[in-house]
């Protein structure tokens, strides 16, 4: 680094009318067109989520509030979410698709990293209790967790990652009918996986009287598989949305970020499950 305070000034940045436009900014004459569009949806969605969290809190605390309140809280989340999504779908035609795809992909990837860190805290909890805390693991009195059924679920879920990948490939090659079939297969496999998990939960609860209040072991089992199951549900919604957008021709070879995002999400859910299966059922 130049330490001489009398050295020449930094060159001032200059306008780049002749230079290539920066990624994401088409060069227009009027700079005011670059100002971002205002939107009320973020504020409404934030307050919807706040209301939803409050209603969840009241429900879990055993307060008796009108069911209408819960319903309205849900509506306060859904309407802004839909409004926001519609706005984005409308605005995409004013944006450079290559650039938009790039930033969305990166953003979604980072988001999944943070999701991984949430699961990481649960894994850390399990590993710590197992190796640093408990004398015996599973603790005395814990039911036998049957890995065979879960193994079938694992295989199906792993396979569904492949079917989705084939769906993506087929869509990019323009084979839409094939892509839709693979997508339906993926959704089907996801539902079967959820069914297997539900059956597992049901038998554990009915025959072993094993619940989430069954000590730390039960809490971990139900929270980890349940939190993952929630992600599978969100993933299935995501896949259904992609199907709907394929059906209504809202995505094509240029605008197909939802296809990629769903792929990332679905692979993520799948990878997390492989670790979960290993840690919970096998280890």
């Amino acid at each position: 680094m130049n330490m001489d305070p009398t050295s020449t000034s930094f060159p001032a940045p200059h306008g780049a009318a002749a230079a290539a436009a920066a990624p994401g900014h088409a060069a227009h004459g009027d700079p005011s067109a670059h100002a971002p569009q205002p939107s009320g949806w973020p504020l409404l969605l934030a307050f919807g989520i706040g209301l939803f969290a409050t209603s969840f809190f009241l429900l879990a605390s055993g307060y008796h509030v009108m069911p209408l309140f819960y319903l309205s809280a849900l509506i306060c989340v859904l309407i802004p979410a839909l409004g926001w999504a519609t706005t984005i779908a409308r605005e995409r035609h004013h944006q450079d698709p290559v650039y938009t795809y790039k930033i969305l992909r990166r953003g979604f990837f980072y988001f999944l990293l943070s999701e991984g860190a949430i699961f990481g805290s649960f894994f850390a909890h399990n590993i710590y209790l197992r190796y640093a805390h408990a004398k015996t693991w599973p603790p005395v009195g814990a039911p036998y967790l049957n890995p065979h059924l879960a193994a079938i679920g694992t295989l199906l879920l792993v396979f569904s990652s492949f079917t989705y990948h084939w769906c993506h490939q087929a869509f990019l090659k323009g084979k839409k009918a094939l892509a839709k079939n693979w997508l339906l297969a993926t959704i089907g496999l996801g539902i079967i996986f959820l069914g297997i998990q539900g059956y597992d939960w049901g038998t554990l609860k009915a025959f072993d009287k094993f619940t989430y209040q069954h000590g730390a072991f039960g809490s971990e089992f139900y929270w980890m598989t349940g939190f993952h199951g929630l992600h599978v549900c969100v993933g299935l919604l995501f896949l259904s949305l992609v199907y709907y957008r394929m059906e209504t021709n809202q995505i094509d070879q240029t605008y197909n970020f939802s296809l990629t995002a769903a792929e990332y999400y679905w692979h993520f859910v799948d990878i997390v499950w492989v670790f979960l299966f290993f840690v919970i059922y096998l280890l």
Binding site: M1, M3, P5, S9, F10, A12, P13, G15, A16, A19, A22, G24, H25, A27, H28, D30, P31, S32, A33, H34, A35, P36, P38, P42, L43, F47, G50, L51, A53, F57, A60, S61, P97, V98, Y99, K102, I103, R106, G107, Y110, F111, L113, S114, E115, G116, A117, I118, S121, A124, Y128, A134, Y212, H214, G215, A216, G218, S219, E220, W223, T254
Partner: protein, 537 residues
């Protein structure tokens, strides 16, 4: 790309709202930055007054001013508000305002998500304050909220649960913000601007965003478990049910220590702008500074158990965490020496921002040194949970983060508002804060050595004189806060106007794009796309 470009229709002119609707619907990163700053400003008053109530109770050893119960609430909420609702949003605000401008972008990568991140702070903040009015009052288990104290048995009522829920919701906002910062900086830099051309404030925001992205979810996870223990009877941290409270401490501090750097790294970034600017010299050791930031970020994930030396961890773990904690002193030292070298031999201009910057160096170094002392296990065991730790943490969080934040606000206020703050009042603010700070927090070191435990509403009578001295010093900080508030509010309306793009005349020693655009910047930041021409040494 060429075929795709043809399909892009020109964007329509943005809708224009005015007045309140403009603020409610804005997706302009600068307005959102200002909203964050205003949010922090309002909460700083609440958090400061909570501290005042704590100091009033500590005026005498067995005060009847407020109940010990309320004292615990005040203590908890002071820390919670100051950390999550003042320092973090204030730095996010400055980052929001200046990071896109510094990299020559028109806005953040996801402007609506950016707005969402801010508005997502409001419902949890309301929950936090509303929790005072629940049956058992607000959370009172400290900002660390250790079980079993924060568990269903010892903290009944809705307050603690609302606290968990609010922090989880704020975590969502933080994660969204971190994603936005990382994508913006990775993909939206002006043509010609490489990674090693980024101003250090941008670099500090990159490292902060990575820490947020990887640490905050762990807090969310652990608070989901705690909330579930409280509300659904699970046993994650319940010793009677096979859970382990010590594990809570591990997971909490795995977040909690990176959190400390989340609160100080942006201040480091600000220092790297303010010190060279008012020394009329270029920054010393840019590459070393970047490397130091990155290594603090990495090491920050490997030191968490130094908060737990007395909690019952193995001697091997103590040695490991003690060593890594001491190691962090090295990159931090690199930064401090680089600031001093940047100022060395320069023509120093003692503007208020520069005063706060020097105040930062003085106080932060003291806090850093007491931190090095605390990293040594035997010393830590001796003073653990005493006022020595309170002194240390306030030297780094108030003397460090807040002083750095103030330096940034005085430095960038003209840029953000087009108005100048009164320098006379700013000097009053600085001296009241600086002297008041030393007055209040320096004696806490001695209280700690004498053995006064922290967090407790009662103390032994021999500590009364020093406690009264400290409580009286609070008035200086209060006066400083009032003067600062008056200065900001008054200057916003009646301050001297400036439209000079570079009101401090610093751009010849500092290549930072915010000084090349209009004051205050237009909603589209730059009339022409800035092209970055790096200065080669």
């Amino acid at each position: 790309m060429s075929t795709a470009e043809a399909a892009v229709a020109p964007a329509p002119a943005p809708q224009a709202y005015s007045g309140l609707m403009d603020w409610l619907t804005t997706t302009d990163h600068k307005k959102i930055g200002l909203l964050y700053l205003m949010f922090a400003f309002v909460n700083a008053w609440a958090g400061g007054l909570f501290a005042g109530v704590v100091r009033l109770r500590l005026w005498s050893p067995n005060s009847s001013f407020i109940s010990p119960h309320l004292y615990n609430e005040m203590l908890t909420m002071h820390a919670t508000v100051m950390i999550f609702m003042v320092i973090m949003p204030a730095f996010v605000g400055l980052g929001n305002y200046f990071v896109p401008i510094m990299i020559g972008a028109r806005d953040m990568a996801f402007p609506k998500l950016n707005a969402f991140g801010f508005w997502m702070m409001i419902p949890p903040a309301l929950m936090m304050y509303a929790s005072f009015f629940t049956v058992h009052g607000s959370a009172r288990g400290g900002w660390w909220s250790y079980p079993p104290l924060s568990g269903p048995q010892f903290s009944p009522g809705a307050g603690e649960s609302l606290w968990c829920l609010a922090i989880i919701l704020m975590g969502i906002a933080s994660i969204m913000g971190a994603v936005n910062f990382l994508v913006t900086i990775a993909d939206m830099r002006a043509p010609g601007m490489g990674w090693m051309d980024l101003p250090l404030f941008v670099w500090s925001n990159i490292i902060t965003a990575w820490l947020l992205l990887l640490a905050v979810p762990v807090l969310s996870g652990v608070l989901v478990m705690l909330l579930s223990d409280r509300m659904f009877g699970t046993g994650f941290f319940q010793p009677g049910l096979g859970g382990d409270p010590l594990l809570y401490q591990h997971l909490f501090w795995f977040f909690g220590h990176p959190e400390v750097y989340i609160m100080i790294l942006p201040a480091f970034g600000i220092m790297s702008h303010v010190v060279p600017a008012f020394s009329r010299k270029r920054l010393f050791g840019y590459k070393g500074m970047v490397l130091a930031l990155a290594s603090i970020g990495v090491l920050g994930f490997m030191v968490w158990a130094h908060h737990m030396f007395t909690s019952g961890i193995s001697p091997q773990a103590q040695i490991f965490f003690s060593t890594t904690s001491l190691l962090i002193g090295v990159p931090t030292g690199v930064k401090v020496y680089s600031w001093l070298a940047s100022a060395w031999g320069g023509t120093i201009d003692f503007t208020p921002a520069m005063k706060f910057a020097f105040g930062f160096i003085a106080l932060f170094v003291i806090g850093g040194l007491s931190g090095v002392m605390l990293a040594v296990v035997p010393f830590d065991i001796a003073v653990h949970d005493s006022y020595f730790v309170v002194a240390h943490l306030h030297f780094v969080l108030f003397g460090g983060s807040v002083m750095g934040l103030m330096a940034g606000i005085y430095y960038w206020f003209p840029k953000m508002t087009g108005r100048l703050l009164s320098e006379k009042l700013a000097n009053w603010h600085f001296w009241l804060f600086f002297i008041g700070f030393i007055w209040v927090f320096m004696p806490m070191h001695w209280l700690g050595f004498e053995g006064m435990p922290r967090r407790v509403a009662f103390y032994r009578p021999q500590f009364e004189p020093l406690n009264r001295f400290i409580s009286a010093g609070f008035l200086l900080l209060l006066a400083g806060g009032i003067i600062f508030t008056y200065n900001v509010v008054h200057s916003l309306r009646k301050g001297e106007r400036t439209s000079d793009p570079d009101p401090w005349g610093v751009n010849d020693v500092q290549q930072s794009l915010e000084w090349t655009t209009a004051t205050p910047p237009k909603p589209w930041n730059f009339d022409e796309e800035p092209e970055f021409v790096p200065a080669h040494d």
